[in-house]
């Protein structure tokens, strides 16, 4: 877009232009004419347009149609069931709904109960991994040796180590239960036995 270069000169010129206003009486005359239409208005072309009155049947028909519409809108829901097919379909829908409602399996009943009891050694810290360094060392030695007669024991040790890990994870998940401690003890005894066998054979 091009910018006006002599903006201030133009502004000054515009300000100097003469100003004109309509005479004060002019608006009053206009208002007076609007409020009191002139006697000659009948001469306007609109006033000479012919007027037609519709025959009475037209209004009667319109009235009848309006009545019919009203009646149709007010038709009760049950009136649709006049047809036998509609009745049968409605009955079927009702039966299916009732069947589903009756056949549904309600959700479980849940109750809470509170009590107190004494537990021995709750949350006792047990270090299961005291000897883990020895097991890791022997596993490394077995891997390095790769002797067929020892590999079977190595597999056994690996299986028992994985089992120990599973028991430890279960303890973390469901707490340090005495039964889990017993299971861990059993696995540790088996691991120790395998460890001894490995040492003997090495």
């Amino acid at each position: 877009m091009e910018q006006e270069k002599n903006r201030s000169t133009l502004k000054q010129a515009l300000d100097r232009l003469p100003q004109y206003e309509p005479g004060k009486q002019l608006w009053r005359n206009i208002e007076a004419k609007i409020e009191q239409p002139a006697a000659g208005d009948d001469n306007l072309p609109l006033a000479h347009l012919p007027a037609y009155t519709p025959p009475p049947d037209v209004w009667n028909n319109i009235s009848r149609n309006l009545e019919a519409d009203k009646k149709e809108k007010r038709r009760p829901l049950l009136s649709y069931l006049s047809s036998r097919w509609m009745q049968a379909a409605a009955a079927l829908v009702l039966l299916i709904a009732a069947g589903i409602w009756l056949m549904r399996e309600p959700g479980p009943r849940i109750q809470m109960a509170y009590a107190q009891e004494e537990m021995s050694q709750f949350g006792q810290l047990i270090d299961w991994n005291e000897e883990e360094a020895s097991f890791e060392r022997i596993e490394k030695e077995l891997a390095a040796a790769n002797r067929p007669e020892l590999n079977l024991l190595k597999e056994e040790l690996t299986e028992l180590t994985a089992a120990k890990q599973e028991v430890v994870e279960m303890m973390q998940s469901y707490g340090q239960d005495p039964k889990l401690i017993n299971q861990l003890g059993d696995i540790e005894r088996e691991r120790s036995e395998v460890y001894r066998q490995i040492i003997d054979q090495m």
Partner: protein
Amino acid sequence: MIHKLLALACHKTTLSLFLLLLLSPRLQSQTVVQVVSKIIEKTFAYQDGYEVNVEGEKAEIFVETSTSREVKVRMELVAKHPSLATAEADLETIQFVTERLKNKIYLRNYRYDAGRPAQSVMSVKYFITLPETCPVYVKNYFGSANISNLSNRLRIFGEYSQIDIDNVKGLIDIRTRFGDVVGEKIDGNVTINARRSDITLLDIAGSYTINAQYGTLKLAPNAGLEDMNVNADKSEVHFYGDRLPNLAYTLRTTHGRLRTPPNLRAVVLENTPEIQRVQVRPNREYGAGANVTISVSFGDLYLEDATARRREGF
């Protein structure tokens, strides 16, 4: 005077005992815990063709039968901790499912927030009552399963879970790892695959296929035994056949001992430092008996008599 002395002595003894009990380490390690239990109960209408499918996690599962055509379930989720709020919060992390989808009734529990260690000691119990003809599948990871009186189909997959079955008939399939199996009064077509698990079966009839590694097997059949095939590796097998003179045995050990009772006429088929193999024909007067084939590698096999059985308390 004597009376007073006796009373004083009694008083001192009571006081000493009280102090002893108070200071004993056992008593000191007792902790009062809040026990919060959530009990869930649901009953399903039973129809032929339904199966109950239980998937427990550290759960004790009890399955029993009734004449009612319903499957009734009661689950108990329990959390114990000295703080009530902690026990309640931990309990909420155990999720459960009790629902029927088509012809399977699923019952399940699992930790919702398994990554977060629980501070409480938690346990889960299932008490399930169902018609005896209802097939049952139990999968349990830790915990135990006690199942009795079923007569159709039972499948169990247990890991670190003790399995007890009593008076069960039909098609039975058990797979277990690190979980012992104890069965009594079992009759049917039975398959057991066990690893690092002991198997004790008493008063059993029917047909058996057992594969076991790293376990002790004790098998005591009754006159209803039809067939038994045992393959055991790094295991010890005791077969109590004293009441069954009409059985036909084929027994073999590799790198292990094989012992039969002296009164049994065993025919030695192989006897090397590595392999021992014997065959025992059934006593003709009892007719053709069931075949018992047991093969053990890296373990011992004992065919035992009444003395050994009584010693074991069978």
